[in-house]
Symmetry: C2
Subunit: 380 residues, 2 copies
């Protein structure tokens, strides 16, 4: 029903013809982030399997594969179903436990998807194996280890060993390695604290690798890691593979932290903004634009970060924050009134739960719309 | 790519075959809410124009029209575009100011949509009129009045009069009434405070109706109101029309408040839940299920409200809250471990920004799936 924004592709200045609120991806900044990650990984021996959950967009997943990624991660069964279209190796990083969702992953395997699964409980491992065997398509599995968050995984080395021994007996499962995802490291603003927590994490990884060495294959997958810990994950690595996803687009909550204890500035810049239009400007010092709570998700309390304001308004002293589902408030210097209809843009506070609030991303280069990408797995 | 949940329609116990996380609408509770609203409105002389923004689902909008609603409200141009499919009267409650979005509403009018718009600024009124005249499809407009939130609307009676006089001179616009949306009344937990604030609001409405009486048509539209204020809006009404949307499905943040100073219990019950499956249960006293931040939006800090837990777990002493994008934590009595794969259901904290996180709603009656509805305007 809505007119397609594709009609603006290639028109001069078409970035300002987008129907707002609009999700905008800067193609050149995205490419630069992919290149920066390739440089970081170069020579480390660590593989990269980016998380679809960060962007839910198959076009970006394709660019990540072209840029050297070894498959993709999915956080949900629905994301794995979307990734099956790419004919690549997919790791589903969450346990699957309900019969309905086990049937879905078995169907993916039966259709030939190169799908690796995680397990953290003998009972679910058993049901999974039975269902895979019934379709004659065994799957690689990783033992998921609790890294201290109580969120998933085996909660002791002994439990992990017992589960690994059990998996070895199950005809539908092939033990391929370990997953240790330490999400708590992602957003520690103090780099020294992040270093200390990462050292503990390294010990945990090493303990499990050693304790399970006789059960694991010769070159096991040991996967984990995020954009927030990649500086440490690549230093004398204990993981064989990192799952960083946010690096491609970035957000306020990453950019507000230093990259590492030695390097303040991130090698990745923001490549994603939300564009909004000023609707109401009946007050001195503030105006209302058409992007609110339904366009920006925040996790740690940050506001959107303005990157563009109307002519005559000072960017450095202006702020923007959602004030209702569909509206946000632009505060500007006293006495100023931005004109109705003018455009603003903001980086989102938290990337993952923001990008899935939109149907499509408008891909721009400079002030020109160059492509429109679906957020394919937005509800998945 | 994902198998359609429609295949489970009509199967006995199919509510437990849903691919989780799943949005669930209880058909009988929804119908009961629609009937309860019809009873409340009966004999008041007040029209009802429910807000699509609450549910973004055309099937629910159709049921609301069948149940006596006089058209629908849209919060965004995209929602108005979706509603055009229903061949009903549509009020776009937000100002439209960018040239791109003005072109979209003009296109809707040109295609015959019975669309009413709001204006709060002479300059945007002017541009809107010019664009409508160019396509020979004038539109009804309401003067939007700031109810004290500084979010949209004219900020004084004098400004409202000046704008109304201006609108009368514009060939593309027909002055049809006033909009006064007092969103601040929606979630005031103290009913006495809500009464006081509502009395102020009534004065504001009356002042504007009287001051603009000579400019407005004989039977002007005076629209506003929400589920949170409807008990007061219908008592000796000053609005001609209420915009309540949440009443159809309800959420934790409404149900946690009393309905009015005299009536604690709402005439509307919850009709929407999120169903999740237990994934990991390796700890005494808590388990992890597959619905996190990306499935529950909160506005005032409430957690999801559990309505169903696995057998052997006590509902009254259990709680659920998101702990990451795709995971939530079910806390249960010490020593208990809910079985992996078992189902739980929760009411969402805040309805509007939660329902748009899903592609479809699973409509159930008792333990049976009876229909699957698209969340049509979820990204709009």
């Amino acid at each position: 029903m809505a007119p397609s924004p594709r009609r603006f592709i290639g028109a001069r200045g078409s970035r300002d013809s987008l129907p707002t609120p609009a999700l905008v991806i800067d193609r050149d900044a995205l490419r630069s982030n992919l290149t920066a990650m390739r440089r970081l990984l170069c020579g480390t021996g660590v593989s990269h399997r980016p998380h679809l959950k960060a962007h839910k967009c198959l076009e970006i997943a394709r660019l990540q594969l072209e840029s050297g990624a070894d498959g993709l991660c999915a956080a949900t069964v629905g994301e794995a179903e979307a990734l099956a279209a790419l004919d690549t190796s997919v790791l589903l990083t969450s346990v699957v436990a309900s019969d309905t969702n086990i049937a879905r992953v078995v169907e993916l395997r039966a259709r030939g998807c190169d799908l690796t699964l995680v397990v953290d409980h003998t009972e679910t491992a058993h049901r999974l194996s039975d269902a895979l065997v019934a379709r004659d398509r065994a799957a690689d599995v990783l033992i998921d280890i609790d890294t201290g968050r109580g969120r998933s995984g085996c909660s002791s080395v002994d439990d992990a060993r017992r589960l690994a021994e059990h998996v070895q007996q199950l005809p539908g499962l092939r033990l391929a390695g370990l997953q240790l995802y330490a999400g708590q490291l992602s957003h520690m603003p103090d780099p020294a604290e992040r270093e200390r927590a990462h050292a503990e994490f390294r010990n945990l990884v090493t303990r499990h690798r050693e304790a399970l060495a006789d059960l694991l294959p010769a070159a096991p997958i040991v996967t984990g890691g995020s954009t927030g810990s990649v500086a440490l994950d690549l230093r004398d690595p204990v993981l064989t593979e990192v799952q960083c996803g946010s690096y491609a687009l970035m957000d306020v909550e990453y950019l507000a932290m230093p990259f590492s204890a030695d390097v303040a500035v991130w090698p990745f810049g923001y490549a994603l903004t939300v564009q909004a239009s000023i609707l109401s400007a009946n007050w001195d010092g503030h105006a209302i634009a058409d992007a609110g709570d339904k366009r920006f998700a925040s996790k740690y309390g940050y506001d959107p970060l303005l990157t563009r304001v109307p002519e005559g308004i000072d960017l450095a002293t202006s702020t923007y924050r959602p004030v209702s589902d569909e509206h946000g408030r632009l505060d500007v210097a006293p006495g100023r009134r931005p004109p109705p209809g003018a455009r603003i843009e903001c980086v989102v506070p938290h990337l993952d739960p923001s990008i899935n609030l939109f149907d499509v991303a408008h891909v721009v280069s400079g002030d020109e719309l160059v492509d429109v990408w679906e957020i394919d797995a937005r509800g998945a």
